[in-house]
Symmetry: C2
Subunit: 342 residues, 2 copies
């Protein structure tokens, strides 16, 4: 995970210091996004003075920031000029369709980040320092930020999720999209199956974002919304398919089972449920991104986790689903777990 | 610098997300140090329940924290038990003489860290958001913390620095140790040359730490201190050697030259000055740790930097030093730059 910044061989505390300084990497990237450095470089500003002018910043500040970003592999430096790395050109320049820079807003949201300033208290107590139910407290405005800013992170997962979830199903179907957020997953299913009708559930303020995205995708006429908590609201149905994306990880296992039972009750016989989750291996320490995600759930929830497939399968089975199977999403750290009403 | 947490080939935003989440690595390591997790594991606690008991923490919190540390390479997991990695055994277990865990205190000190919460403002203005002269404001209590907690990071550099700085000089010599901090460097010179006498300069509160360390090393009878600013206080002399460790990077080049002129005036003819610094290559983006250090100086000082050898040599020459030469410190990211009174 770390650079090897020391000379010579043998044991070195480099990983320790790399870790103690790692917060600076986050701060530097957020700052560059906030100051629009990647747009300036993409539009041709090359030396520190030119980038500084475009970003209304100091030359000293930009030079040191861009050098730091170069060390991190987020820019390339030649002489005294900077240009995009492959990563920054594709994923940080706002002119790129794959740009994920907006995700810095949600990932730097106080709800996500502040508990890490009190992580020792979190580990002592075993639950978030956030009040009430933590990140899933009703109407938490962070989820509007999520819906607005996280779509670019999730967009590459939408098409594979749709293929896995639909599994070739054609014709008119009803699809329940729990905790729809930006709505991308339900919208993708509606695009892949032109006779699918979507019912999206989330907080009212979040559903505004999803509806706007559905309209932009041209599926508004098959896109309905139902505001409220997935634990309380009438889920309608019977549906043929339920999407449960990036949601179960916020809750402890009994709560997940309770939610899955509600979902099953809203599905037609033979109906299917598909999650999208960070699913670590059974060792819980690999692969890195899925395994590391557990810490975010420790910090921001009361009882959530990054569940292994065995744990998810047990929840599915306890809630009355069978044929539970994992499907790795290509080119991403996510896994889709599908089950069928028993 | 980053893990590759995605499956499959081709461009991936993994580095971007790794960077946006990097602050969690710092929080996790600081938390484990604060809760004494590495001591508990070193003393034999192996599963999450046992570690939690010893650390007065929750089992859920410890399990997720230790899994995260394992992902980072800071622990090893076998089944459901944890043990030290080579790194944590040597550098994080408080029972190891090479333990550097205390450095988390200075590196997490508000003076060092808070400016990174306002890094966009820093880059805009080109200087720290800290008041006055930033980290070098007179009597800043952070330097007492530095003196107490950073010695383990600097200890491995002391012996090589002493060898380079003394360059075989035997017999009675007078050594000026500017910004002595923990005092380790002057103390090491006193140990290598039993006739060397040290005059250590720093804030009064910091010199208490240095004097205690000198007494512990058995060199108190050859160790004198002079409280005050290196820019104002009488530096005594004439000295044969001046140590200027981890200090020049806090100031802009004209200020460094002014200080070096004061140091030269306190040296005997033929006297030598030796700095210890993070010295990046002339490209300013390698090696990683030395180059990345510039951002800390941007964030915490008015005009400091991680200077290249060419820049340091120019300062030395402007202040009247000749024969300026760099000496890489083995097994560390630091460089000693030596000059001789012209």
């Amino acid at each position: 995970m770390a650079s090897a910044p020391t000379r010579g061989e043998g044991p070195s505390p480099a990983l320790v210091f790399d870790t103690l300084f790692a917060y600076q990497r986050t701060a530097a990237l957020r700052t560059a996004i906030e100051l629009d450095v990647f747009r300036a470089i993409g539009e041709g500003a090359a030396d520190a003075a030119s980038i500084a002018r475009r970003c209304a910043a100091s030359e000293r500040g930009i030079r040191i920031l861009c050098d730091f970003l170069t060390v991190q592999g987020l820019l390339v430096k030649e002489g005294t000029t900077y240009r995009h790395s492959e990563t920054s050109a594709l994923f940080l320049d706002p002119r790129s369709p794959a740009c994920v820079a907006s995700t810095a807003r949600f990932l730097g949201n106080p709800m996500v980040q502040e508990p890490f300033d009190h992580l020792a208290d979190v580990v002592r107590s075993g639950r978030t320092v956030l009040a009430g139910e933590g990140s899933v407290e009703p109407e938490n405005p962070a989820w509007v930020e999520f819906a607005h800013s996280m779509a670019p992170m999730m967009a590459p997962m939408a098409a594979p999720l749709g293929v896995i979830a639909l599994d070739g199903t054609q014709g008119p179907i009803s699809v329940l999209d729990i905790a729809a957020g930006h709505g991308l997953f339900g919208i993708e299913v509606a695009k892949q199956n032109p006779e699918a009708r979507i019912l999206a559930v989330d907080w009212a303020s979040v559903l505004e974002v999803a509806r706007a995205n559905a309209a932009r995708a041209g599926v508004a006429d098959r896109y309905q919304t139902r505001p409220g908590s997935a634990f309380d609201v009438d889920l309608g149905g019977p549906h043929d398919l339920a999407l449960l994306t990036n949601f179960l990880h916020h809750f402890d296992a009994p709560t997940c089972v309770r939610l899955l039972e509600r979902v099953r009750a809203a599905l037609a016989p033979g109906g299917r449920v598909a999650t999208l989750e960070f699913v670590p291996n059974e060792d819980r320490v690999s692969p890195p991104m899925a395994a590391a995600f557990g810490l975010t759930m420790l910090a921001t929830t009361v009882g959530g986790d990054a569940y292994t497939f065995r744990e998810l399968a047990a929840m599915y089975q306890a809630a009355g689903f069978a044929d539970v199977a994992p499907h790795a999403v290509p080119h991403g750290p996510h896994t889709v777990v599908v089950g069928r009403v028993r």
